[in-house]
Symmetry: C2
C-alpha cells in the first residue's frame, strides 16, 4: 500500500552479509557478490506491507535480509492461496527476473522485515557470467516445481485434517522453533494457515482446537507450540 514510505536503511554488501552462510547466495565467488551489491538497497517493510504484486512488471530481485514473507496468489474471486513461505536469505521474484515476465504471485511481509533489492541489470549481468549462479537458480526452480507438484497432490488427495497438520509442519520447517524448542517461530493468523492448506478459516479453527484437545499442539493466542513434531507429522501423513 504505502510502498513509498519504506525506510531505506543502508547499503548492504552481499559479500559481507551476516546471513551469507544460509542464504541463496552462499558460497558464491566474492567478486560476483560484490557485483550483485552495486546499487543494492535495503528497505524495511512493515508487517502486512506488499513487497511486490501479482501482475506487476519486475523491478528487480529481492533477498530477505531479516524477516518473514508469504508468497500468495488470488483465486477467481478474492480467495487467497499461499504458495510459499520465505525467510532470511531467501530470494523472491526470481522467476519474473529470469524470464522478464510479470510477477506471478504477491509477496507480503508477515512481520517487519528488512529486504534487499538487487537491480535486474546487475542480476542478469552476474547471471550471464556465473555458471554457479545459473546452476543454483536452476536447482531452486527444480525444487519449486517439486514442491508445487507435491502441493497439488496434497490438496487434491488429502483431507482437511492432514492438510492443516501439514501447514503447521511447513511453518515449523521453514521458520523453525523459538528458544524453547517447541514454539513455532512465526506469528500467523488462522486464516493464513487455512490459506496455506486450501481450507476455510472456520474449518482451520475447528481443526486447531481439535489438535489442541488431542495434545498434538498447544495454542497460545497466535503462537502455536508443537510438543512432539513426529506425532504431528504422522497426522499430516508425511
Amino acid at each position: 500500500m504505502r510502498q513509498n514510505s519504506n525506510h531505506i536503511t543502508r547499503h548492504r554488501d552481499c559479500a559481507d552479509c551476516d546471513h551469507q552462510s544460509s542464504s541463496f547466495f552462499c558460497n558464491m565467488a566474492r567478486e560476483d557478490l560484490k557485483a550483485l551489491s552495486i546499487n543494492k538497497s535495503a528497505s524495511i517493510y512493515k508487517k502486512g506491507q506488499v513487497i511486490f504484486n501479482e501482475g506487476n512488471r519486475p523491478h528487480g530481485l529481492y533477498c530477505i535480509y531479516e524477516g518473514k514473507v508469504k508468497l500468495s496468489k488470488l483465486g477467481d474471486f478474492g480467495k487467497e492461496q499461499i504458495l510459499r513461505m520465505a525467510k532470511n536469505g531467501d530470494i523472491l521474484g526470481y522467476r519474473a527476473a529470469v524470464c522478464n515476465e510479470k510477477y506471478y504471485s504477491t509477496a507480503t511481509a508477515l512481520e517487519d522485515s528488512e529486504i534487499c533489492h538487487i537491480s535486474l541489470e546487475n542480476f542478469n549481468k552476474v547471471l550471464c557470467n556465473s555458471t554457479d549462479l545459473n546452476f543454483k537458480l536452476m536447482k531452486l526452480l527444480t525444487t519449486d516445481v517439486k514442491e508445487s507438484e507435491k502441493k497439488i497432490l496434497n490438496i487434491s488427495q488429502k483431507n482437511v485434517e492432514e492438510r492443516v497438520a501439514e501447514a503447521l509442519m511447513v511453518l515449523y520447517e521453514v521458520f523453525g522453533m523459538e528458544e524453547d524448542g517447541q514454539t513455532i517461530n512465526v506469528t500467523i493468523t488462522r486464516k493464513e494457515i487455512g490459506d496455506m492448506a486450501g481450507v476455510t478459516t472456520e474449518s482451520t479453527i475447528r481443526k486447531l482446537s481439535d489438535f489442541s484437545r488431542k495434545g498434538l499442539i498447544k495454542i497460545d493466542g497466535r503462537k502455536l507450540l508443537i510438543p512432539d513434531v513426529k506425532k504431528l507429522s504422522l497426522v499430516a501423513k508425511l
Copy 2:
C-alpha cells in the same frame, strides 16, 4: 513393465529432426544438436508402457519424436494425479537430469510413441557449454512452476464442473484438433480425465454427459468433440 522389449528403431539426429521447428530444441546451434545426438537412440513405447518411473534414478533425458505421453504421480494410496501432458518435440525427465535427482513423476505413453533417449553425459556436456540451452531450460522450469501453481489454485478453488471443463481445454491446447477441427486429437479414458482434474471417475462421467446434454461437447466413444472452444473455456472459467 516390458521396457526391455522396446523395439529400437534407428539413430535419429536432432540436427535433422522433422520436428525441430516445434521442439524444445528448436533454433539451437547445429553443432550442439549434433553433440546431443551422439549415442542417441529412438525407441518405440507401446500404449500404456512406462518410459520412466517415479523414484527411479535417471538414465537420461527423453524427447518425444512422435507420440503422446502423460506425466503422473501416485498419491498416498494409489490414486493417480496427472501433472502434465506431453507431445511431439517435448522433453521429459529434465528435472531429474539437471539436478541428478530421482524421477519425481512417472511417464507413460498414451499411444504408441517413438521416443528418443539422450544420455545424461551428452546432455550435461552440451548444457555446460550452451548458454542458449541453459536459458531454454530455465525458461521451461519457470513455465512448469507457473503451470503447477495455477493447478494448485484450480484444484483448491474451482468446482468439479470447472475442473473437468479445464481438463478438456488442456487436452485441446496440448494435442490440438483432428482434421475436422473439432475432435480433440487424443484418445483418453474418463478415468484419465478425472486424474487430470482431481475428480473421481464417476463424477467425471456424469459431468461429461452433462456437458454433452448441454451441447458443450459431443461424445463419440473415447473421442471428444468441442464444437465451440470459447463456450467450453467459459465453463472452465479460464
